[in-house]
Symmetry: C2
Subunit: 175 residues, 2 copies
């Protein structure tokens, strides 16, 4: 097991600023490109991260800590953000995400002896039993997944423009 | 063609700070993990980016702009950094990269009418004829490739720790 609460918090704490640095001062073309039908652009990825801060990690964490082991943890709709009005400029979205993340990390700090509850169990609607440490690990990997998605989508915008160098750039054929 | 000089410079300008935000304040475990034998950790990725700033983009750009169309552009050894002493702390490496990148972007600004030379041709040692716009596009995608690599390597550190959520996290099986 590589997970540690300290290590997880380090990454979770870095993500909002890293996204800010990646997406600031970019022209609209970089932000609105995607990988084709039913794929997300950077606005939509940040919307999804915002939605996750509101309705995924902390509600599930609290259900595992305080809920009935036999009651499912709250479901999370990974596509909910696509049905919401998301016309805010990217700076506003990034700021919203940063505020929510900071609030959620402060929330973690208020939990007495969180470290001693890492093996607490919840019932995931699809997977069945999951541990609190698995939820926290997933939060970290989820951040990294969506950073990877953003840079991959941006890279693919230049898929044809790189000419023969495409042969050296595996990111252009990843999903 | 999606490439524009302005758009390319936006991304190239963001990369050092984005890497700084991603990799600062992380414990050593995050920085020294890799994907197995003959794969790179984050120190090595930054070393490679430093090497590229020194010996890849600008020397090749200058060869295309000023060289003989029939003389190959300079080769670049993608593994050169692995044979150098790279024990600097990550903050030093990130600072070195940032300084080199700023210097190189300033260098681009001094080239008169760069925009009008985007179709200039050079001879790549493997690919044959390449255009200046393809080199600049590749510089951008190369940045994004290595950001994706860093977050993928970090994500894989928690591959087992996420438990059943692995099924939702494609990054864990990407290369």
């Amino acid at each position: 097991m590589q997970f540690s609460l300290k290590g997880a918090l380090e990454v979770l704490d870095n993500t909002p600023q890293a996204l800010d640095c990646l997406l600031s001062n970019l022209s609209h073309g970089w932000l609105q490109c995607n990988e084709g039908d039913r794929t997300w652009n950077s606005y939509e990825v940040i919307d999804h991260l915002i939605e996750s801060e509101k309705h995924n990690w902390i509600p599930r964490l609290e259900a595992i800590l305080h809920g009935d082991e036999h009651a499912p943890i709250p479901p999370f709709d990974r596509y909910a953000h696509l049905n919401k009005d998301t016309n805010n400029p990217i700076q506003q979205k990034l700021m919203d995400f940063k505020t929510l993340r900071a609030h959620n990390l402060s929330r973690l700090e208020t939990i007495p002896s969180l470290e001693s509850h890492l093996d607490a169990i919840g019932l995931h609607p699809v997977f069945g039993e999951v541990k609190l440490s698995e939820l926290l690990s997933t939060w970290v990997v989820h951040d990294l997944t969506h950073i990877a998605q953003i840079v991959r989508v941006m890279a693919k915008r230049y898929q044809k423009d790189v000419g023969p160098w495409q042969a050296y750039l595996g990111i252009l054929t990843n999903k």
